[in-house]
Amino acid sequence: MLLRLAWATLTRHRMRTLLATLGVAVSAAMLLDMVMLSTGMRASLEDLLLSRGFQLRLAPKGTLPFDTDATIPEASEVIRTLRTVPGVTTISPVLGGQVHVEGVQRTISATALGVDPAVQGDYEITNGRSPSAPNELVASADFLQVSGAQVGDTLSVAAGYDSQLRSFTGRRTMTLVGVAHFLYMAAEQRAVALPLETLQSMEGARARDRVSLFMIKAGENENVDTVLKRIETALPRVSALSTETAMRQLDARLSYFRQLAFILGAVSLGVGFLLVTTLVTVSVNERLGEIVVMRAIGVAKGRIVSQIVIEGIAIMVTGAICGLGLGLVTAKYLNSILAAFPGLPAAIDFFLFEPRAAWTALGLLTGAGILAGVYPSWRGASMPIATTLREEAVG
């Protein structure tokens, strides 16, 4: 009965109900996007950092991985020390650099990663195989596209350029043995990976026994924070970062987006709430006569309030359901804009859909719908019956 009455009221002014639902749908879409933005980026990065099972990173003291050109000296000694730390199971050293690949027509520069191919966590092979000899390398699809090279080709790779001698330095002839998807690289970034020792020797004295980063796996049953503390004690001259610490650092840097998400989400919720409140208030004012008649024939105040609240909830929930679809479409579009962020791994999604985000948006809007209906309905149902009846009849 309550539902039928609410339905009859909503369909009495179809255009009005449709517009209100549309307004709520846009607000819900924005709210969903903002909930996705506030949580998705973090979840996406966490997934990325843990995708290869490395829970810890060691970077030069006071820096984040690859945040500066700084490197960790005496890498062999660090590895030896790390092997003595209880709980450490896998150590993957990484040296970052730049290489120049001499082509027929032009030289192509690419980001280079010196890794231990057996334990690396920076790329996944999509075609071919991982390097197994010092003169082998793998490259990203973007590199292949720009250079025109193919798996099996021999390339002349240099690590630097001497402007006085006008020649490349650290030159090696290497074989391209595979195509790799680099997990932490930005979109369209040209990248190659080669054995660590090869890159170190190509870069000469400045990279001798140096690495940019260590990626570390802790044992399955180990507490990561405990292992982190052990590493910090054993190696006070490096910064050890757990995934959680990295997330906190990221949070601090990208706090702008979380704050923006919070503000816009709150505004969207507020707009949806205002829209439904206005509509329900006007609707109640128009039906005062009908409401007092119902009261006069004995319908309880609570039932009248419930009926009007149901109207508000119906608009909110219908709008929210339409808004969820709209929100996913707009999130995809907004994500494509933010994906162009310079230097950010292409695998990061700013807007990551999680069912929890949808439920949060729906829950907030339903709550707002209830609140939007409570005051006008209570006011309408509390009007003095006789006076209102007379006023409505005369008016």
Binding site: G23, D162, S255, L279, T330, L334, I337
Partner: protein, 289 residues
Amino acid sequence: MIAALLAVTLFQSLDTIAPHRLPRTAAIDERLAADASLKIGDRLVLSSAPGDSTGDTVIVSALVRRRADPSEVARAEYRVRLHLDQLQALIAYGDRVDRFAIATHGATATDSAIRRINGAAFGFQAYRSRDIAVETSRTFLVVSRFHRAIGVITIVASAIFLLCIMLLKVDERRRDVAALRLMGISAGSIVSSMMVEAAFVAVAGSAIGVGIGWTSSLIINWYYRGVYRTPLAFAVVTPEIVTLAVALSLVLGLVAGFLAAQRLVRLPALELLSGRREKRTPARTIVAP
């Protein structure tokens, strides 16, 4: 480090003491001075690695405030500006620099210099500062595009909201409109009067919105300048933005008012007066037996 190398030339004049006799001077970040309680005249030991005993002692001679540079806003590291040769020695960089900043006499001279450097100096690449600025501000171009997209969504939501409100406002005046129609006032006049009303509401709302926007920009700038410790303006309300917002609001208001009024004046006056919509039943054909 690049900035430090570049800035070295700016601070050559800070130090007139002969090298290696007395500690040389260095300029440090204002934030570093605040966080580490340093002041001009303090002595520091700088080294390329933590705990390195072969550090170089310098005297703090200047505090440098960050420029309002968007590309630096999210970078939290401290900066120390040293003399070029001192930094080269400190980090064992040899006789190398990362880049040169070159001043020219006007745009023509810049073009000519770039052409000559790129043509003659094999292994170097000359860029216009403007091109570098475009490249380094890519982050903010992305943020700007994101804001624009959010703005479009907000405009759509506002348009629907405005249309809904106008519909309600016009609906409230069904009887007034009916009386006017019965008195012989034309539909066009009624629509015009409602559009004027809608325009007034839109302009009044815009004025309040501009006030809220301006206050918000003050709060945003105050907050983010504190968070990022930069003089950068994060939100700016310009006359162009105000004009755009008011114009957009006015257009939306007029369109919403027109649509809502059109919907009302199309109904028969008596139907409006009674508040009931008359059901139009199709004509029935009675066939004689």
